[in-house]
C-alpha cells in the first residue's frame, strides 16, 4: 500500500508545474505558428537572377564627392539589409531648370556647388510577384532609397534597373 502511494507521488504535478507547462506549450504553439506562416509566405520563392541598378542623388553638395567607391557594399540606411555592390560612380553638374522672366523661355543652368551623383550597383536578386527583391528589399524604378556604403550615406531614387547575366 505504501509503495503504491509512493509511486503515485512520484508522478504528481504541482500547480506551478502545470502553469509552467502551459506557458511552454503556448510558446511552442506560437513559434510553430510563426514558422508555419513564414513557410507559407515563402511558397512562391521566385526566380533567382542578377540585376544592375542605378541610384541617383540629384542634389549632392560638391564637397561630399568621392566618398562612394567601386566595390563598396550598398546597404539600406539602417545597415540591416545588403542591397548590392557598387560597380560605378559618376558625377555631373546639377542642372537647374527654370523660366526666364526676360524671355519667358525655359532655361537650364548649372546650380553652383551642387552635383548629381549616380551610383551603379549589382546584386543577386529574386524576381517574384512581378518585382525584384534583394535581401527582402523591393527594387523598382522610381522608388526612393535611403542607403549607405562604407563611409557615405544619402537618399536617392532608383532610376534604372535591368537583369544582367552573371
Amino acid at each position: 500500500m505504501e509503495s503504491s502511494n509512493a509511486g503515485k507521488k512520484k508522478f504528481s504535478l504541482n500547480f506551478i508545474d502545470v502553469i509552467l507547462l502551459l506557458i511552454i506549450l503556448c510558446a511552442a504553439a506560437l513559434l510553430a505558428y510563426i514558422f508555419m506562416s513564414g513557410g507559407m509566405k515563402n511558397e512562391d520563392s521566385g526566380v533567382e537572377c542578377q540585376i544592375e541598378y542605378k541610384i541617383q542623388i540629384k542634389t549632392l553638395r560638391e564637397d561630399l564627392k568621392g566618398n562612394v567607391n567601386i566595390g563598396d557594399t550598398v546597404k539600406d540606411a539602417s545597415g540591416k539589409y545588403e542591397i548590392g555592390e557598387v560597380t560605378n560612380v559618376t558625377y555631373s553638374p546639377y542642372i537647374f531648370y527654370s523660366v526666364s522672366r526676360d524671355t519667358m523661355q525655359v532655361t537650364a543652368s548649372e546650380y553652383p556647388d551642387y552635383v548629381t551623383m549616380v551610383v551603379t550597383a549589382k546584386a543577386d536578386a529574386v524576381f517574384k510577384d512581378n518585382t525584384y527583391y534583394v535581401d527582402d528589399c523591393k527594387i523598382y524604378i522610381g522608388a526612393g532609397v535611403d542607403f549607405r556604403t562604407y563611409s557615405f550615406t544619402g537618399s536617392g531614387k532608383f532610376i534604372s534597373l535591368e537583369e544582367v547575366t552573371a
Binding site: D17, I24, L64, N67, F96, S100, S109, P112, G154
Partner: protein, 161 residues
C-alpha cells in the same frame, strides 16, 4: 519531520525540464539581442577625425564653436573635442531674372567648418563611434555643448592609423 521537509524541496524530472527550457529561452534572448558579440568585441579605442560643416548660422551660434570645447551626445556622454574651427560668410543661392541661380554672400549668416576628434571602432561596414553609432559622410548628427544644441553635417572623416 526532517524527511518531510527534505521531500518538499525535491526536483522531479518535469521541474528539471522546465528549468532547462527557461534557461534555453534566456540564452536565446541573449543571442537575439547580440549580447555575446557585445562582450566579445574589443573596446572602442580608435581615434577618428570628423570634418564637419554647420551652415547659415547666426553669430551667437558661431560663438559656441571654440577650439578645444567638448561636445556631448543626447545622453550626456562625451562625444568628442573640437579643433581647427574656420568661420566664413554663408552663401545664398538666388535665381536671377534669366532663370539662372547665382551664388551670393549673405550679410549676416555664417558657415562653420572644423574637426571633431572621436573615439570608436572600425568594423566591416565602417567606423562606429563609441562602438555603436555608425559614422557616415552626408549624415547629420546632433550634439550638445554646455549651453547649446548643435546639428552638424559630416563632410569627411579619417581614422587614425
Amino acid at each position: 519531520m526532517e524527511e518531510k521537509k527534505q521531500g518538499k524541496f525535491k526536483f522531479n524530472a518535469i521541474d528539471v525540464l522546465i528549468i532547462l527550457a527557461l534557461i534555453a529561452c534566456i540564452v536565446g534572448i541573449a543571442f537575439r539581442l547580440g549580447l555575446p558579440q557585445k562582450f566579445l568585441e574589443p573596446e572602442p579605442d580608435q581615434k577618428a577625425e570628423i570634418r564637419f560643416s554647420v551652415n547659415a548660422v547666426d553669430q551667437f551660434f558661431v560663438d559656441q564653436f571654440k577650439d578645444g570645447i567638448l561636445l556631448y551626445d543626447a545622453d550626456g556622454e562625451e562625444f568628442g573635442s573640437v579643433k581647427d574651427i574656420e568661420v566664413s560668410v554663408s552663401n545664398v543661392y538666388k535665381e536671377n531674372d534669366h532663370g539662372v541661380v547665382e551664388k551670393m554672400s549673405h550679410l549676416s549668416l555664417q558657415d562653420v567648418v572644423g574637426t571633431i576628434t572621436v573615439t570608436g571602432l572600425v568594423k566591416d561596414d565602417g567606423f562606429y563611434m563609441n562602438g555603436d553609432t555608425w559614422l557616415g559622410v552626408g549624415q547629420y548628427y546632433t550634439v550638445k555643448t554646455e549651453s547649446a544644441t548643435i546639428s552638424f553635417l559630416v563632410t569627411g572623416y579619417t581614422v587614425a592609423e
